[in-house]
């Protein structure tokens, strides 16, 4: 187990390092001179030269990378074009997105897993077809359109929920949830569709497996067969799928926050790109990549805990 964790950790570190290089080089490939962006109205060559000097923009790229990465390791991601520390901005924006993602994950897993189990148990019946069709529809509906439709129905026509914005949970818990319900459903919908399909096929596999037949032969109740034996083994697949879907969740958060006017991390990503704020883009994308890798590492480890066979066959499973 220890070796397994170390190997996964090592691979994750390499991926984080390479991802940071990709981020660094990618940001420098964005057209436009950062010195010009920093100088704003001032086009005086001397001012530009001073700015380049101050931020070390004339140094060779590897030197700039090492300096940036060294500071980043200490939690210092530099200051953005308005002079605000990037890490500070990120830290204030992340909780909003985490709340949104957490709620979406909750909605997505609860809906997806229960619909998948029902569809598998009642295979070929009307409820199976209904769940399968809705899931297929869910896969084809883009987040941002679902968001617009929900705003039209629940905010504009019915007036039940606010169309956008954000209230902190500490100030107003009810208001916070009112603002978060629609974005969380929008973001969770796609996830639940994917999970439903995976859960259905995993459950069908489990229900056909020998140990389920044995459990039935032992005379266990249907509830116990489905709930204890088939479900538990299907959850292994689901953990992996959730891990794989986190990328889609992050992408979806960007769009969802844009539509509902939530000033979270996703909104920050789009804004930083729109404003060509190099240090900010760098920091934001780096945090996304690192977060994604860390979560995947966590998923890998969870997976090995649930399914001991993985440890024996090593990392070959991935």
């Amino acid at each position: 187990m220890g070796v397994f964790i170390l190997r996964k950790l090592g691979a994750a570190l390499i991926v984080v390092f390479l991802a940071s290089v990709v981020v660094f080089v990618g940001v420098r490939a964005i057209p436009g001179d950062p010195a010009l962006a920093l100088a704003a109205e001032d086009r005086d060559p001397e001012v530009l030269a001073a700015i380049r000097e101050k931020y070390g923009l004339d140094d060779p790229l590897p030197v700039q990378y090492v300096r940036w990465a060294g500071l980043a390791l200490q939690g210092d991601l530099g200051t953005d074009n308005r002079g605000i520390p990037v890490s500070e901005t990120i830290v204030t924006r992340i909780p909003l997105t985490l709340e949104l993602a957490g709620l979406a994950l909750l909605i997505g897993t609860v809906l997806g897993i229960s619909a998948g189990v029902i569809a598998a148990v009642r295979r070929g019946k009307a409820s199976d077809y209904a769940a399968t069709s809705v899931a297929l529809l869910g896969l084809s509906v883009p987040h941002f359109w679902l968001g617009l439709m929900m705003i039209i129905v629940f905010a504009v026509n019915l007036g039940w929920l606010p169309a956008g914005g954000y209230v902190s949970f500490r100030e107003d818990p009810v208001g916070n949830l009112e603002h978060m319900v629609m974005p969380a459903i929008v973001l969770g919908a796609g996830l639940s569709a994917v999970l439903m399909r995976q859960m259905r096929s995993a459950m069908l596999d489990s229900l056909g497996a020998d140990y389920v037949r044995t459990a039935r032969a032992k005379g266990l109740s249907e509830w116990s067969v489905v709930g204890k034996h088939a479900l538990r083994n299907s959850l292994i697949t689901i953990v992996t799928v959730i891990g794989l879907q986190l990328g889609a969740l992050i992408s979806g958060a960007v769009i969802t926050e844009q539509i509902f006017g939530i000033a979270g991390f996703g909104r920050l990503t789009v804004d930083s790109i729109a404003q060509r704020d190099y240090p900010l883009i760098q920091g934001v994308v780096l945090v996304v990549a690192v977060g994604y890798v860390v979560v995947n590492l966590f998923v890998d480890l969870t997976y090995s805990v649930i399914n001991p066979r993985i440890r024996v066959s090593g990392g070959a499973s991935k």
Partner: protein, 291 residues
């Protein structure tokens, strides 16, 4: 010799006939195929299919509801929504197909080479793919579109590049599995060179996987184009695109919700059709999923 030559050909024709029959037995897949073909034709022949030009304004009908003149109503400049959706299909279809072709053209050879030759090159390919997979598809596409600058071509490029890493992984995985097959070993024993083995034995046997993957990548790219255009990183107004139209509809959710409804419906219908077509093709091409 002629007997040996004729037999596999006959078998192939028979298999194709069986597949066609299996496909036709799936109404969802057939309807999806019709929708996909219809959308492609509408996009190509937009000039003749659309009742109006996408830029033609009708100041007597601003934000108008559906009428006989404007079947799906008009936008804030009195432009016909139906016509703009038909013209907008061009951006979507173009982005969907070109991005997928681009991604396939890059990913498949890389995956084939990595999976077939193994060794250090394969390790490098696998690691780089891992790194690129650390960036979610749309984040990668948004970042690339920002680097390239906003236009349909650049958005297509960005989506195509962003779709490469998962396809490399699939092509590589298939190659790794196929190179262990008995018929590949037989070909090696017969003295076939690498090009023949890859081109005649491995690639043809993964086409069905790739075809299914393509029908799933196309709708992802179509939605991706809409998202990029919605964020202002793709097609630029006044050129019609479903994403551009949805973005422009936002201030009018109250007065003219139909502006936001129809372009989105177009995206859903086309994306759903591609997804169903992919499902159908998978069932037809892969007998293991036959239920």
């Amino acid at each position: 010799m002629s007997y040996v030559e004729a037999s596999p050909l006959g078998a192939r024709a028979r298999r194709r006939r069986i597949m066609r029959r299996r496909f036709l037995r799936r109404p969802a897949a057939v309807i999806s195929l019709v929708i996909v073909v219809g959308a492609v034709l509408a996009a190509i022949f937009a000039r003749w299919v659309a009742p109006y030009s996408p830029d033609q304004t009708d100041f007597d009908a601003i934000l108008a509801g559906p009428s006989r003149e404007h079947l799906l109503g008009t936008d804030e400049l009195g432009r016909d929504t139906l016509s703009r959706i038909i013209w907008g299909a061009r951006a979507s279809i173009q982005a969907g197909f070109l991005a997928t072709v681009l991604a396939m053209a890059v990913a498949v050879p890389i995956g084939l080479i990595g999976g077939y030759y193994r060794g250090w090159l394969d390790t490098v390919i696998a690691r780089v793919t891992d790194v690129l997979l650390a960036f979610p598809f749309l984040i990668l596409a948004v970042g690339l579109a920002a680097i390239l600058g906003p236009s349909l071509l650049n958005a297509t490029l960005a989506l195509g590049i962003a779709a490469i890493p998962p396809l490399i992984r699939i092509a590589r995985g298939e190659t790794l599995a196929l190179r262990e097959e008995d018929y590949v070993r037989a070909a090696v024993a017969n003295g076939a060179n690498d090009a023949v083995i890859i081109g005649r034995h491995i690639l043809p046997n993964m086409t069905s996987t790739l075809l299914v993957q393509a029908t799933l990548t196309i709708p992802a790219a179509i939605i991706g184009e809409a998202v990029l255009s919605f964020l202002g990183l793709g097609v630029q107004p006044p050129t019609p695109s479903w994403g551009v139209m949805l973005n422009a509809a936002q201030p009018y959710l109250n007065e003219a919700p139909s502006l936001a409804i129809y372009p989105g419906l177009a995206i859903v219908i086309v994306a759903l059709a591609f997804n169903l077509l992919g499902d159908g093709l998978r069932d037809v091409l892969d007998p293991k999923t036959e239920r």
